[in-house]
Symmetry: C2
Subunit: 224 residues, 2 copies
């Protein structure tokens, strides 16, 4: 496992959660692999308690399955779950981006454009992890503008299924289209064109759906 650096004043639980989540998305903790509270605790330099609390959290989204008194495993990629995750994102983000068309201030537009500019930079630099973080940040901004930050936070609980697939896609397919999509969406928001913004968002999110077959062909052992 890739042990991240612990942030100042970060609790053990938050540290464990952040690290484990990161490793799941990046497939360091591979789908289907067994995990042990004791082992993770030792690797992270913590006791079982905070690690266990993090695992419980992850099990809520069914990204980890805890079989009591038996074992805990990283869930295999379940396409039904990915589809639920995609559905949820799609429905919520399309509704939110419509709101943005009414609510976005010039400052908001500026922040979105700055995010896209950075995305282009890291796209050219071929730095996929950073690009994915910026992608998340961009979508977070979209929610924040519509005053739906909490919805975004909770949506991310299930989105990890989607993120994991995205993580594979980002190293397997071209990222170029994604960043261009973002730019188009910002333009539609700035013009105040909710119908077009929705259409673009829906198209944008549909890309991951299309890529799934290729990913499955590449990593068949990770699928249910």
């Amino acid at each position: 496992m890739n042990v991240l650096e612990r942030l100042p004043r970060e609790t053990g639980r938050d540290y464990a959660l952040r690290t484990i989540k990161d490793n799941i998305i990046k497939l360091e903790l591979a789908p289907g692999s067994q995990i042990s509270e004791n082992e993770l605790a030792a690797e992270l330099g913590l006791s079982r308690t905070p690690v266990r609390e993090a695992l419980i959290d992850l099990s809520k989204a069914k990204i980890i399955e805890i079989y009591p008194q038996k074992r805990s495993v990283v869930s295999l990629i379940d396409y039904d779950m990915v589809e639920e995750s995609r559905f949820m994102r799609n429905v919520l983000e399309c509704a939110v981006v419509e709101l943005d068309c009414e609510l976005a201030s010039p400052d908001d537009i500026g922040r979105l454009r700055e995010s896209v500019r950075l995305q282009k930079f890291y796209l050219d630099s071929f730095y996929p992890n950073k690009l994915m973080a910026l992608d998340n940040e961009f979508h977070g901004l979209i929610f924040g503008i519509a005053r739906k930050a909490q919805v975004f936070t909770l949506m991310q609980n299930i989105s990890i299924h989607f993120d994991r697939v995205r993580s594979m896609a980002l190293s397997a397919v071209k990222d170029l289209k994604i960043v261009q999509d973002h730019e188009d969406i910002v333009n539609a928001i700035e013009r105040g064109d909710p119908a077009e913004a929705r259409r673009l968002m829906e198209f944008h999110l549909s890309r991951y759906k299309v890529d799934a077959a290729a990913i499955r062909a590449k990593y068949p052992q990770y699928f249910k």
Copy 2:
């Protein structure tokens, strides 16, 4: 606090979560009141560990606020949060009820009708707690038919803000309209009329929005 009966084979954590949640929704644990891990553990006949795990879970949805090393309190009713919660439900349920119009089998319709029938029964019997449970069950059925059960589960994390307001509304306003709404929605699903189903659902969910002012007048001390 109203201590529920522990179910067979239920873990301490699940028991604590279920009981605390129930008490929050029913306002036994009043908005703004301080809670103590030790006190809850004693009341539930558990140690701090499972109680603490339950509280962490609830804090994720911001229904409980944990101030490290200081105190934990039941969150005051934050109307922005209720609105986010309502927005999320509205967007997701409207999308799901449209899917239902295509996907619902005759058996599914039967289950929905049975639920409505029971709702009518408990409406006549004036048994609001049972009615609210049936209301939740009804909405859960709507999601299950569209194969979006996990979305429903995660949505409920934030819905507790909404549920708490609903709990006040059910004892303060007429329930009659709610059950009638449900029946109308089932009819639209059975006819396979997605536009009408969406319209009815949106109207149905808007009721709680309208009632908020009256509730606030009745329980001003519970609001932020």
